[in-house]
Symmetry: D2
Subunit: 344 residues, 4 copies
C-alpha cells in the first residue's frame, strides 16, 4: 500500500530521530524548562526576527489552538473562523468545550475575507450577544490554499480596525512559506498577527509545534494555561530537541527543505494528473491536492493507494485528497500517475 493519506503517516524525519537518539541519555529538567527548549525558542526568535516574542513548545496543533483561544478570551467572547476552518471542522468542539463560540463565516477558496470578518462582527450588538474578539485562520488553509501577502495585510488591518486578535494556525506553515505561490515571509507574518505556530507534526517531527506569541497582552501566565488545558509534556525537551534539528540553518534548514520536498511531490502529482486530463476540486499550491476521479478509477486506485475521499460525489466524480510528506518518494508519485493512466 502506498500512502497519500496524510503528512503524519510516518515517524520523524531521520535527522529529527537522530537528534532524539543523541540526546536521549541526557538528564534535564521537565515540562519544557530545559536548555533544548530554550535554545529552540531562541532559534524561532532569530528566524522571525522578534527577540521580544514568547515561544512555547506545544504537543500538538489542537492544544495550540484551544489554549491560545481559552487563554486570550473572556467567557462571553468568541472567535471568528471560516466554516471550513480546522477548529470548526476537525476538533470535536474542543474550542466550545472551553466555553467560547466559533462564529463561522463562508470562506472563499477556504480563506476568510475582510468582508467575512465584517459580517461576523455585525452579529455582535450589545450585552445580549457574544462579542467576537479573535480571528482564526490557518496558513495554508484546510484545502491547501494560501493567503497572499496582500490578503494577509487586509485581514490584519480589518482585525486592528475591529479590535480583534489575529491568530494563525501554522500546522503546515512550512508548505505555505515554500509554496511556488508564496509571497509572504515568516517575518512579515509575525508582524501581521498576534500569535501563530510553526507546525512540526506535519513537517518532519514525531510531534510538536512551536507556538509564537507576539502580542504582549496575550503572554501572561501562558504556561499555567498549557497545564490547565492538559497540554504540558513531562519530557518537554523532546519538542525542543526536534525543533533544534528542524530549525538548524534557519531558512535554509531542514524544516524548509522538508516542506519544499512535500510541495514538490504534490506539484509533480498535480502536473501529472492535469496532463492526464484529471480535474480538481480546488487549486492548491501546497502539499495537499484534491483531484476528482470517476468511481471506477477511484476503485482501482484504492487497491494500491491509501488516501481520503474528501467530498461527496459530484457530476465530475469523487473528490479525493492526496497528501505528500517528508517521506514521500518520487517513485511513489510516478507509480500513482501510472496507475491513474492505466485506470482511466
Amino acid at each position: 500500500m502506498i500512502y497519500f493519506r496524510s503528512d503524519y503517516s510516518q515517524g520523524a524525519h531521520p535527522k529529527v530521530l537522530e537528534a532524539l537518539a543523541e540526546t536521549n541519555f541526557e538528564h534535564t529538567d521537565g515540562y519544557g524548562m530545559d536548555e533544548h527548549c530554550t535554545h529552540a525558542a531562541a532559534m524561532v526568535k532569530a528566524l522571525i526576527g522578534r527577540p521580544d516574542c514568547d515561544v512555547h513548545m506545544m504537543i500538538g496543533g489542537t492544544p495550540c489552538n484551544v489554549t491560545i483561544i481559552a487563554s486570550t478570551l473572556r467567557p462571553y467572547e468568541s472567535v471568528i473562523a471560516a466554516r471550513t476552518g480546522h477548529i470548526y471542522v476537525h476538533e470535536t468542539g474542543a474550542v466550545e468545550g472551553t466555553g467560547h463560540r466559533i462564529v463561522t463565516v463562508e470562506g472563499v477558496n477556504g480563506k476568510l475575507t475582510p468582508e467575512g470578518i465584517e459580517k461576523a462582527c455585525m452579529e455582535h450588538d450589545d450585552e445580549h450577544t457574544a462579542e467576537p474578539k479573535m480571528v482564526y485562520i490557518s496558513q495554508p488553509t484546510e484545502i491547501g490554499t494560501i493567503y497572499s501577502r496582500q490578503e494577509m495585510i487586509a485581514i490584519s488591518e480589518k482585525c486592528k480596525e475591529k479590535g480583534l486578535y489575529l491568530y494563525v494556525d501554522g500546522a503546515r506553515l512550512g508548505c505555505a512559506l515554500t509554496s511556488r505561490e508564496a509571497d509572504l515571509s515568516i517575518q512579515e507574518l509575525a508582524r501581521l498577527c498576534d500569535a501563530f505556530y510553526i507546525g512540526g507534526t506535519k513537517n518532519g517531527a514525531l510531534f510538536g509545534e512551536a507556538l509564537v506569541i507576539l502580542n504582549p497582552g496575550m503572554k501572561d501566565h501562558f504556561r499555567y494555561m498549557i497545564k490547565h488545558q492538559c497540554g504540558m509534556l513531562a519530557k518537554g525537551r523532546l519538542i525542543g530537541v526536534q525543533f533544534e534539528a528542524l530549525l538548524a540553518d534557519g531558512e535554509y534548514g531542514l524544516y524548509f527543505q522538508i516542506a519544499a520536498h512535500s510541495n514538490a511531490m504534490a506539484e509533480k502529482l498535480t502536473n501529472g494528473l492535469k496532463d492526464l486530463g484529471v480535474e480538481f476540486f480546488c487549486d492548491s499550491p501546497t502539499n495537499q491536492i484534491f483531484p476528482i476521479f470517476p468511481p471506477y478509477v477511484l476503485q482501482k486506485l484504492e487497491e494500491e493507494f491509501f488516501f481520503y475521499q474528501w467530498a461527496p460525489e459530484e457530476a465530475r466524480g469523487i473528490p479525493v485528497r492526496l497528501v505528500t510528506g517528508w517521506g514521500t518518494k518520487e517513485e511513489e508519485v510516478d507509480r500513482f500517475l501510472a496507475a491513474v493512466k492505466e485506470a482511466i
Copy 2:
C-alpha cells in the same frame, strides 16, 4: 411615550399580580418544593394530556434553554439551530459557555427545515467532529412566524431519523397557539418533541416559564442541573402561583386570553399598516410584526413611540419591530396607525 418595544415592558397581568398578593403571607418551603408549584405542574400536565411528564418552574427563558441543553448533551455533542435562533443571536454565548457548540443553519422564514437539519448532520463524521444530538427551534420564531403542524411533524420525524432530541423554546408559545394561522395544538406539540417550555415572562407573568420534559431520558437529576446553572429561585413558589393564575380554566384561561389579545392587537396593526400601503420585512401571524418605514416616517414615529429598529436600512426603508402584549390597548394601536398616516 407609547411602547411597542417588547412584551416584557410592563409588570404582570393584574390577575397574576393579584394571585401573588393573595398568597404573599403564606409560608411555604423554598426552591419550588411547595404546593403552588406542584399544583401548577399538575395543571400543565392536564393541559397537555401528559401525566407522565416532568414540569419545572423556571426563572426565565435563557435558563430553560441553557439548562436543558447542558443537562442533556455530553461534552462533545452539539445542538442545531437556525442562525436566527434565540440561543444563537440573543444569549451572549451562554450555550457555548456550558461547553456545547450551536451548529447554525440558514432558516426559511426564520424556521429550521428538515433539509437544514440534514445538512448540519453532514458536518459530523467521526471522533474528530462534534456530534449533533439536539435540535433547537422556537415556536413562534424570532421573527414571529410559526411552524405549521406539517412542518413540525417533518422536523420531528427528521429528528427521530437522526437520533436527535427535539427541544422547542416556547417563550411566546401562547401567541403561536392562538395565532390565526395555528393548526398545531399544544397536545400535539407535546407528542412531537422531547421537551419544551410554556413562556410566562412574555405572556403576562412578572417572570417564569414552565419547562416540560417529556422524554424520560432527559429527566434525571434535572433539579441538580437547575441549581448548578444558577437558575433556582429561593421563593420558587412565585412561579407556581403565577402559572396557577395563568392556567386556571385551561385552554380557555388567562394564558390563552392574553396571547389572543396580543395577537389581535398585532393583527390590527398589521392590517391598518397594510391599508396604508406599508410594506413588511416578513409576515408574522403572532405578536411581533416587522413593518418597514422610510427614515422620515421613522423619525416622526420615534418621537411618540418606543420600539426597536430591527435590521439595517434597505431600499424600501428601515425594518422595525413592533410588539404587543397583555397591556397593549386598542387606542394605542389606533394612535400608532393615525401617526403613520400623518407622517407618510
Copy 3:
C-alpha cells in the same frame, strides 16, 4: 404549622409588594436598563458613600456569587472559601461549573481567617498548581456569626498582601449590619472589599440582590457576564423597584428595619431558650440560631413547627436551625418557647 424554616418562606414585605403593584402598569425598557434600576443603584451608591462603584440588580445570590467569580478569574485561578462557605456547601458545584476551583479551608466559628488564607495560598507554587486569586466570605456566615471590624480588616489586609480580590456574599447583610454585635458599617465594608452584594431575597424582597463592584478592574463588560451566566431578567426593573422600596430612607429605612426585626425575634428566641436551659450548637447574633434539642423534644416540636435539622445527633441532642424573617411574629416566638417548655 409555624415556620422557622427560612427567611424566604413568605412573599415580600407588604411595602415591597405595594411598590411592585404601584409601578405595575408602567412601561419601561427591559433587562435592567430602566429608571427604577438606575435610581436604586444611586441609592446604593449614596448609602455606601461610593459614587464610583458599579451596582447591578441581580436575580439571586448564586447568580451574584458565580457571575462575579467567573467574570473576575482567569481559567487557572481559584477562589478561597471556608469549607462551610455557601458557594461550597449549597450551590451544587456551580462555581466549578464555570471552571474554577474552590480552595477550602477550615473556618473558625464559620469564619475564614488570615491564617486560613495563608495556608490556602501555600498550595500554589508554580504553573502546575491552580492560583488563588479571590477570597469569598459571607457576612454573616452560614451559621449566623459575623466578622468584627477587626477581623474584616485583617482579612482585607491579608488579601492585599497576597494579591487576592475580596468578595463578600451579603445574602443576609442586613442582619449582620443590625446585629447587636455589629461594629462594621456598610461604608467601611465597602472600603475593605472589592465587591459585595446587598441581599434582598432573604430580607423582604420577592427576590433580587444588589451587587456592588468597587474595584475598577472587576467592572468591565459585567452585563455581558450576567447574560452569559443566564442571570439577566427581562423585566429587570422588578429588582430596581424592590430596592427602591427597601432602601428609601437609607440606614433608617425598611431594609434595616426588617433586618433588625428578624434579629430581635431571633434574640428573643435565643434568650428564651437559654432561660429554659437549652444549649446551642454555636452562638449567632443574627437571624439564624442553632439550639440543640433531645430527640423527644424535637419530635414534639416538629408537630407544630417547621424547621431544619442542622447536623447529626450528638451527645447533647440534635442541632436544629431556626430562622426568623420579616414576617415572623412575636406570638410565634412566644408559642415556640411555650412549646419547648411543655416538651422538656
Copy 4:
C-alpha cells in the same frame, strides 16, 4: 550534575527508542487507528486478563485523569480525592476546568480511606449540593506509598456501596506492582476498579499511558472525549509502538524490569541513608523517597545533585524528594551516599 529529580528527566529506555526507530518509516493511519496501537491494546488485555476492556493510548497522565473524569461525570457530579492527590495538587485546576469539583479529604500516608470517602459523601445531601460520583486514587500515591490488597478491596467495596466509580491513576503503576511491599496484582487491581492507566512516561517511555476502561458504562464515545479534550496524537502509533516494547513478555518484560530497577535503586538509597542515620519524611517502598537533611548538608548535596525540596523546613531539617528511574545507575546511588557521609 547527577539527577534524582524525577523519573522523566531522561529520554526513553534504549529498547523503546529502538522500537521507534525500527518502525519509523512505516506508514500507518493516524490518531491511534493503527496496528501498533491495536496490538499494544491486546497486550494490555492479555496482561490483565480482561479481553472485554477498552484500552486507549493516551499522551500523558493529566489527559488520562481529566478525560476520564470529564467523560464519566455529569455536570453536577464531583470526584473525591486525597488533598495530596495529583489531580488536586499538580494539575493547575484542569479537572475543575471541565466543570467538576474535586472533593478533598485528608489522606493517611498519602492514601484515601473508606472513612474519608464516607465523610466526603456526607457533604452531599440533595439538589443544592454537588454529588460525588467517582473516587480518584493513585497507585502508588504522590508520596510513594502503596495501597495494600486489603486497602484496595476496602476502597473498592466502599465505592460500590456508595455508587461511586473507582479510578486509579497509575503514573508509576510499575513501581507499585514491583515494590517489595506489593501484594496486589494488576489483574486484581483491574477487578477492583472501573478504570486505571498503566503509566509509560515515568517508566521508560518518551511519553504515553495506556488507559484501561473496564466498566462498560464508561466506554461510550471515549475517542470523541479524547479529541474534545485536545489529547489525541496525530502520530498515535508512537504510543502503541512504545507499549509494544514495554509490554513484550508480559509480567516478565521490560515494563516490569524498569520498575523493579527503579525500586531497587531507591531501596539502596533508603537503606544507605538509614545506615547513615538519616531520617525520613515518610516511608516509601517505591521509587520516590523523602529523606530529611539539615540545611548545611542540603547545601553541599545541591552542588553535585539535582533534586526537589519537598516540604518546608521542620525541626529535623528539610525534607527532599529523590526519584530514581530507568537510567539511574548504581554508581550514582553510591556517589550520593558517599556525599551524604562526607557532608554530615
